[in-house]
Amino acid sequence: MTDAQVEAQKYLDIILSSEIRADLVSLFRKNPGIIDTPEGIARRMGYLPKVIQSDLDEITGLGVIGKKKLGNREIYFLNHDRDTEVQQTIGSFLQNLKPTP
């Protein structure tokens, strides 16, 4: 596998390893204007904050979701450039997949 394919596989493993992570990415992509605290994000997804926190941290670690401080609160937002990069990497990977004989 090429480096790009390895990277794409890593992204897919992270994003698809839990329903909450996939839902988080989907939520921010469909609603790129969301800028909110973990409590606000969890509420929009129908969860309690502690349920989504670790998955939110993983997706933030991937760079798709950005994090910054506003006063003493941490807020999360879609990192457009990084999200586009990840989508393109995954897209290329999937396009080049050949069916196994």
Binding site: K30, G33, R44
Partner: protein, 261 residues
Amino acid sequence: MTRIKSGIAELDQMLRGGFMEKDAVLLAGSAGAGKTTLALQYIVNGIKLFGTPGIYVTFEQLPDQIYRDANSFGWDLRKLEEENKLRIICTSPDLILSSEDGQSILDYPIKEIHPGRIVIDSMSHLQMYIGEKNFRLEVYRLVSQLKSRGLSSILLWETSQLMGQISSISDMGMSFLVDSIILLKPVEIDSTIRRALVILKMRGSDHDKSLREYYIDGSLGFVVQSPFENFEGILSGSAHRTSGEAFVKTLAAIGSRKKEK
């Protein structure tokens, strides 16, 4: 004096040319009255007709739903965002107030697109977060912040009463803090629900004081019509024909019964 037009011709006539620049306008109405549609149209018209970028802040409705609803009127909001003419910000109400170090969630979008208009949807949600005790103070702070940034704002407020007489727009003193108030109200006339718009207040300017009927058109958006005629008591929840009109109607009914005989 610069006027900020809504782009809805009849409404701008009622406002004697438009809202006053940098004014805070309270747009009040019950659920389903059309507040979001009017507010979105204010932003979209600002961009398309007057070249003024805008920000739409939503606390409850997701942007995805707003995109979908706007599409039904032919407004492509995603495209306007791509063109850096619009930002739809979806956040928690308390984040809209600036933090202790002076930072605001609006800092970045304002720097990005240099808006002249903003909608806050809605102040009712903000009240739920802040609580009654601090609400008036925080709204004053928010309104001052928006004005200092040169933004002409529409603040949505959900009135609790769907029908009948409204004794006050809000219990929290919002009416005193804003420069203009527009009320949207469903009214019952002749066993049919119709919609009434009235400008209750406009600081520093004359305005149309009549009750106008409005409707929401699938392709035009918010449409303001002519004033209600021959009815009184509309806002009280007991609309009835004026005595002159009732007399004419009775005469006409007697006349048609005589003809039938």
